[in-house]
Symmetry: none
Subunit: 339 residues, 3 copies
């Protein structure tokens, strides 16, 4: 490769990719988040590359700030997104990357600029965690360019300080439940159903639902135990009502019972047909997951006992205990029959 090419790659970068069904909503509009992710990937590559163009500690560029970004035109499935990134300013410890996104319709040849973004990166040493490294300076075409970059740098620095302070106070009203209570580990997630989650009918695959259920149950278990936890069993699951493409699924989990070596988590799946205003949210699936906690040799650890608060917790615990004893008895019976 000629020297000019090597220099070119050092200060600019092009990424492109075809937009797929999974990148977009059901109408075919590419999610803003898909575009933001590509923008940041380009920024991260060019930033990390630049900060490693001198001897000394190897480092990785960490995103510190994204300036206000407008989405000028919608992008669609089948179009090619072209992301070009360029380093436009460097201070001692930060890099400014400017990114432009074009959408290309490869069938008609039309091209549109959909985004322009500015990102700030800070290089962190790969050896000393937390240590910020020096940024090698770039060359500017003229003094005005450097001067304007410096202004942008000062402006964002001030704004970052301001929001940092504001951020400290403005914590959302979080009720802080006591450790080992049901409320402490209770968790829920929402998931927007995408094309790859669905069968030919446009209904969510059962396996996708179960994966989300296990994910939530796993987070509940990890929050309760703070150890390496693994799924031990899943109770019978009935899929009463189908969930369609374009729905938002809310999956919630709460601890119901703990024995010495296992904990039971009840998981609920609620479906919300987002766009069809007339239809109501409904409960689609519920199930009980049992988790165990493992040490480094994959041997079971004791589980902290669930702290019950109020009658409802007590009722769920008793029901969980009954299921636990029933399953234990069944396992024993199976074992004896096999002998």
């Amino acid at each position: 490769m000629s020297e000019t090419e090597s220099q070119a790659t050092a200060s600019s970068l092009q990424i492109c990719r075809i937009m797929r069904p999974d990148d977009a909503n059901i109408v075919g509009n590419v999610h803003g988040g898909t575009i933001l992710k590509m923008i940041e990937e380009a920024g991260c590559i060019i930033g990390t590359r630049h900060c490693n163009t001198q001897p000394g500690d190897r480092c990785a560029a960490q995103l510190a700030r994204v300036e206000r970004t407008d989405f000028l035109y919608p992008m669609f499935i089948g179009e090619v997104a072209h992301v070009s990134a360029e380093i436009t300013y460097t201070s001692n410890h930060s890099v400014e990357v400017q990114v432009q996104v074009m959408s290309e319709n490869i069938l008609t040849g039309s091209m549109k600029m959909t985004n322009r973004a500015t990102l700030w990166y800070v290089p962190f040493s790969l050896k000393d965690v937390g240590k910020v490294t020096e940024v090698p300076p770039i060359k500017y075409a003229n003094p005005e360019q450097e001067e304007e970059g410096k202004k942008r740098y000062e402006a964002q620095k001030m704004e970052r300080l301001e929001t940092k302070e504001r951020n400290g106070e403005q914590l959302m009203p979080v009720s802080a439940p006591e450790p080992y209570t049901v409320g402490f580990s209770q968790s829920s997630l929402i998931h927007l159903v995408g094309p790859s989650d669905c069968t030919l009918h446009g209904f969510v695959r059962g396996g996708v639902t179960m994966k989300l259920m296990d994910e939530v149950a796993g987070i509940v278990a990890a929050r309760h135990c703070k150890t390496n936890i693994v799924t031990a069993s899943v109770d019978a699951i009935n899929f009463h009502r189908k969930i369609m493409k374009g729905c938002v699924v809310t999956v919630s989990g709460r601890a119901t019972f703990t024995s010495n070596k296992s904990m039971e988590i009840e998981v609920f799946v609620d479906a919300d047909p987002l766009i069809e205003a007339e239809k109501e949210k409904y409960r689609a699936v519920t199930a009980f997951f049992t988790y165990i906690s493992l040490d480094k040799e994959n041997k079971p650890l004791p589980i902290p006992a669930l702290k019950l608060e109020g009658e409802e917790d007590q009722k769920h615990f008793e029901e969980g205990k009954a299921r636990y004893l029933q399953n234990k008895a069944k396992r024993l019976a199976d074992k004896q029959r096999q002998q």
Copy 2:
């Protein structure tokens, strides 16, 4: 292919896949959800294939029930999961599939049975949505086999009916907020940070965080508007604190302001260092996303006005309005400068 082989493929199926970093937790244990998803994929394929082996409507097998499933041994990254599925019973309108999962360590050659599962599928017509089609009968090796299958069928049928009734009552206490209020569209998701979300340092990529933020903001906007919504802009985002591999990220969004043609959503990212008990949950990022609502020709639709309840809503709305007017003025100034 010989006739014996063809028969074999019709009633049994083998899937195998190497377990990857994203299939597992940070310690290397494969998620139960990953295994459940593979089990269901095998069941869905074999069920759909069987139900289409006769003339008439084409159909797709929809999961109706999974029997209690035990995870006998943990599975690890780098192992090969072998999933074999077999049709073991058919009624007029349902198919029983039994699935067995083996984990193979391809470096040592050791194999373990990790799961055994039973799934029930119902075939739905691809033409008439909602129509259940007839299931072609399978041949049994002996009458006992059929008899036992029938018993399992009756048992699960009864249990499904029971839980269906129970499920109707048992709805979680959901406060149902009034449409167009902040509470109505407020949403949050949790995400367990996986290896592919991270940089070389083991910190979450900024682009991954932004994608999750846009996902939540989009759900808030869709819940409020009930139309096709797209990201119009993102305010400056500051990444004050890094998020590590193994954290659980909670991303929450709430509507703050609506103009005629746009709505603003505030998004919060909180990180929870799951396993390290001593560390506390902290706010990592916040940002404002602006969405617009589009009709079928991609033209902007009016946005329903946000109903404010209480002082806090009012305060956020005023602040949002100030940002809105400031950005509008800035856009105008930019336009005039360009002319």
Copy 3:
């Protein structure tokens, strides 16, 4: 954008992407399949774009053949893969795309060429399914360039016809496994084709198929060698028949030949149109993958010799040996020509 830039984008293309944990095996070596998929994405974009540069039916470029591809150096997690594609020949109904892959270590700045590939695409109308459209001719720098392209075109055309015939016969025998026999490492996987696996036509992308083929070949090689194995080369691949959305794809692999330092694996792709009862399972693609085994310093290890059982194994081994010797001779000739 200036006119020169528009022209540049018309006949060449650059893709780049950071390699992540899920792109690689547990030792950190990027899967050959990941690289093949990126190569094909670049080829598909540039091919589709070129075939739509004239008035008439809009069309999508469908992969018809990949010439033999060597993997010159291993690539690792954290490196950036740069894929550049260029159209190098056009006939009336096909496009030749040459692709080059470089790996960049953004921490050290080192760059290596890891692959060079040649792909052939055929444009299919988006209106009339099955109709092949006309390809607009490219301009050649000189008559020699066109002449050489024509030779490559004739050569691949003949070879495609030959393999099409051969493809009809071959089927896999299934047997019980003694270590180092063909049966011992033989593997297969099935994959249900989802929306994001497909092109605008609803046909499986060539790159998706090749990634699955490499996955199976990799499992066969790992089972045989029980070490860290990496793709060394792929023989010419012909895509005889298209695979549609909703199909189940079965990908099977078996060892055919071992030399001291490499092993050859034959891979078959069979498509099963799950729902359309009238259509039969058919063989869509076959290819030969060559793997090498690496120690911790990424130096080649000896490969255990394949134990042959019966005449068929012997025949495949002899054929594999012939391919091996032919490729070796070709590499030597290329080397001498370059000196």
